[in-house]
């Protein structure tokens, strides 16, 4: 049994088939003629061994010209269906490249955690009038925050998978223990699928060993891969970096699911035209996918795309720009063109705090990209200010908004039998004096088939959305944790070095 996700029956498309053909050909031309500069020796050898051209262009850098047939073979070999497992089998995700079932995931790794408190303010002219307004307190993220965000993810109904939304920056966290603590925080607080990037390759074996303990052994982890990885091995334009490429190679050999992601910025690290950035990112992702299939044919690889436009005032990523949404939809179409499962991005806002700007920007991109049908959508639960801030309050509101989308995506009930029944109903009702269909809506209402009024609505006519969402957040915080069984935690602490003692939840179980 897998999670239901959002089934998009008629996916939104920007590009026509001829456009997809053009982009595909342009990407193949880029890879075979311009090539990609690879900083990793093992990857250079692997590409060369598979028939790619490799020529040195500097110290430790080779230009790799990948022939189209190698790319096409990799696309053919890459699995079209990928299972992302979960501690709770009911939370498993099945990503099929040809099917537009969308799973929603949190992420990415922001440095800032945004606390919100509500303080009373009194009207100077009318001391009896008091309003509560939000006050935002940004601070560096910690392991406790990550644990709480995983706990929150567990209770947010529409969230299908968990990508850590906050970078752990405690004083006792370093590059040698970061990965094990990061994955343990996630796995010990949510039974949903856990995806993350790796900080240090030296920790890969420990992370996998931990996942095997949690999943029930090596084979159990292969059958139910409760963790997967994101690798941003390409630095745009067209440069394969050393450390992440090495990480990718090792993950491929382990056979665990991996996302090949690239995040070019239109106007700085990619051409500003839609054709330019999309053909470049497609080439970059295809290069990564090709490497995975050379290293280990059949590696479960996900086509990942995070194309953005540059903000011209500060050259940051303009996630809220409509162009970024357009590029992402194009990439979703390219992944579907190849029949590969797609990791896409939406819902990131440029706003630094929750409010109208964040609501408008995240809904704009979330709705459109989700409707284009990526199988795995990093939809920025709680993310603000580009990718740099995580607000749990925003995450609670995002869940509400995705519930609206889930309602919208329910299939229409149009069939001859139903139409005949409604014809009779209309004919009967127009004969009545009141002409109301009250009795027909009640069963739907009772069975939960109708959407409810916006849950943070204030019937007194005030805008209390943030305040009410905060009340919901406080409620979710009090829910019992979804921790690993004590014997599993014990094994993890026994066998995996470096996990901080304060993350041990056995006493609170």
């Amino acid at each position: 049994m897998a999670r239901e996700g959002l089934l998009v029956i008629r996916p939104l498309e920007r590009l026509a088939t001829k456009d997809l053909n053009h982009i595909h050909q342009a990407s193949l031309d880029i890879l075979s003629e311009i090539g990609i500069n690879c900083h990793n020796r093992d990857a250079v050898e692997a590409f060369a061994g598979a028939g790619a051209g490799a020529s040195p262009v500097g110290d430790e850098i080779s230009n790799i010209k990948i022939p189209p047939k190698l790319v096409l073979k990799a696309i053919e070999n890459a699995p079209k269906e990928i299972v992302l497992g979960a501690r709770d089998p009911a939370n498993q995700l099945i990503l099929h490249g040809d099917r537009t079932r969308v799973y929603l995931a949190s992420g990415s790794e922001s440095n800032i955690w945004l606390d919100t408190s509500f303080r009373p303010f009194i009207n100077k002219n009318d001391p009896d009038e008091e309003v509560k307004l939000p006050s935002f307190n940004p601070r560096r993220g910690t392991v406790a925050d990550l644990a709480f965000s995983a706990h929150l993810a567990q209770s947010l109904d529409t969230l299908d998978a968990f990508i850590r939304p906050v970078n752990i920056q405690d004083k006792d966290i370093n590059n040698h223990n970061k990965d094990v603590n990061k994955f343990f925080c996630c796995l010990n607080n949510t039974s949903k699928h856990v995806m993350a990037g790796l900080t240090s390759l030296e920790q890969l074996q420990n992370v996998i060993a931990m996942a095997e303990i949690v999943a029930g052994g090596q084979q159990a982890l292969q059958n139910n891969p409760i963790i997967s990885f994101i690798t941003c091995l390409v630095k745009s334009p067209l440069q394969m970096v050393d450390d992440t490429t090495q990480t990718l190679i090792r993950i491929c050999l382990e056979g665990l699911p991996v996302v090949i992601s690239s995040s070019p910025q239109a106007g700085t690290t990619a051409p500003p035209s839609e054709a330019g950035i999309v053909s470049q990112i497609n080439a970059e992702v295809l290069a990564g996918i090709t490497l995975t299939q050379i290293i280990n044919p059949g590696t479960p690889v996900i086509y990942g795309s995070v194309p953005v436009r540059a903000r011209l005032d500060n050259l940051n990523d303009a996630y809220g720009a409509p162009e970024s949404t357009a590029y992402n939809i194009d990439c979703v179409q390219m992944a579907r063109y190849y029949g590969l499962p797609c990791y896409s991005t939406a819902g990131v806002s440029d706003a630094p705090i929750p409010g109208l700007q964040s609501a408008v920007e995240r809904l704009f991109s979330s709705l459109l990209v989700a409707l284009s049908g990526p199988q795995y959508l990093h939809c920025a639960f709680g993310l603000l200010d580009g990718n740099s801030t995580f607000s749990p309050l925003q995450a609670v509101m995002d869940d509400t908004h995705f519930k609206m989308l889930r309602q919208f995506l329910k299939p229409a009930d149009i069939d001859p039998e139903n139409l005949e029944a409604v014809y009779r109903k209309i004919a009967d009702t127009v004969q009545t004096s009141q002409k109301l269909f009250i009795n027909d809506i009640r069963p739907l209402m009772r069975k939960g088939k109708l959407s409810k009024p916006y849950i943070f609505e204030d019937r007194q006519g005030n805008d209390s959305v943030l305040c009410k969402a905060n009340q919901e957040l406080e409620r979710l915080m009090t829910l019992p944790g979804c921790h690993l069984p004590e014997e599993i935690i014990e094994k993890v602490y026994e066998r995996i070095p470096g996990i901080l003692p304060r993350l041990d939840t056995r006493k609170s179980n």
């Binding site: 004096s433 002409k435 109301l436 009795n439 209402m445």
Partner: protein
């Protein structure tokens, strides 16, 4: 036996099941007799109309009102129950007349001339019938002359006027003035409602009450009765 059927009428009223064809909230009641069938059965068994009203319909509607106030029930639930209550009252009407038991009051409701919107008006009609009033639905786009005529000939005590449009709300003032001219001032109390109007407008045109929704129509008439 008598208690049992009274109980059943009240329960089905709370469930909003007018007849056996209706679905309520409790699915186990599906296909069983609704308020209409049960009221008829109760009369056949000799239960007095007064008992049916005082022990089943009135407390049933009170329970529905409490459920609505607490957020458990929504407007469609209230309307379904009110429809069931209204249907029971229709069955009981000849029996009440025979026993010389008066209704709670005679009400007419109309959407004014040039306005064809009737959802609000229809809801008011359902709720007032469910609350035990004798209600005449005069329809939509009703001319001022017809309204005055109906009030006069039917002995209407409370007149509800509805208008959705700002272009038609002025008809309400016309009606009130025409009622005055016809010598009906004080004999019929006028309540107004609809998206276009407000308490301020009601005061301006000399209406006796403004009702923001159907529930306020019930409470407004109740308050006017006390005056």
């Amino acid at each position: 036996m008598e208690t049992e059927i009274i109980e059943k009428i009240r329960e089905n009223l709370i469930q909003g099941r007018k007849s056996e064809e209706d679905e309520g909230i409790d699915e186990t009641l599906n296909g069983t007799p609704g308020v209409i069938e049960l009221t008829e059965e109760a009369l056949e068994k000799g239960v007095s109309p007064k008992e049916i009203i005082s022990l089943a319909i009135t407390p049933g509607m009170e329970a529905v009102g409490e459920k609505y106030d607490s957020g458990e029930y929504f407007i469609p639930d209230m309307l379904a129950s009110a429809q069931a209550a209204g249907a029971a009252m229709e069955i009981l009407k000849p029996h009440l007349e025979k026993a010389r038991i008066a209704s709670k009051g005679r009400v007419a409701v109309a959407t004014v001339k040039d306005d064809i919107h009737d959802i609000g008006k229809n809801i008011v009609v359902i709720l007032l019938k469910g609350a035990g009033y004798d209600v005449d639905d005069l329809g939509i786009d009703v001319s001022t002359e017809k309204i005055v005529e109906e009030v006069k000939t039917r002995g209407i005590e409370y007149l509800g006027l509805s208008a959705l449009l700002t272009s038609t709300m002025t008809r309400m003032k016309e009606v009130i003035e025409a009622l005055d001219k016809a010598g009906l001032k004080g004999k019929v109390r006028v309540l107004i409602g609809g998206a276009a109007v407000s308490q301020e407008y009601a005061d301006e045109i000399g209406a006796d009450a403004y009702c923001a929704d159907g529930f306020q129509a019930i409470s407004a008439i109740g308050a006017l009765k006390q005056q």
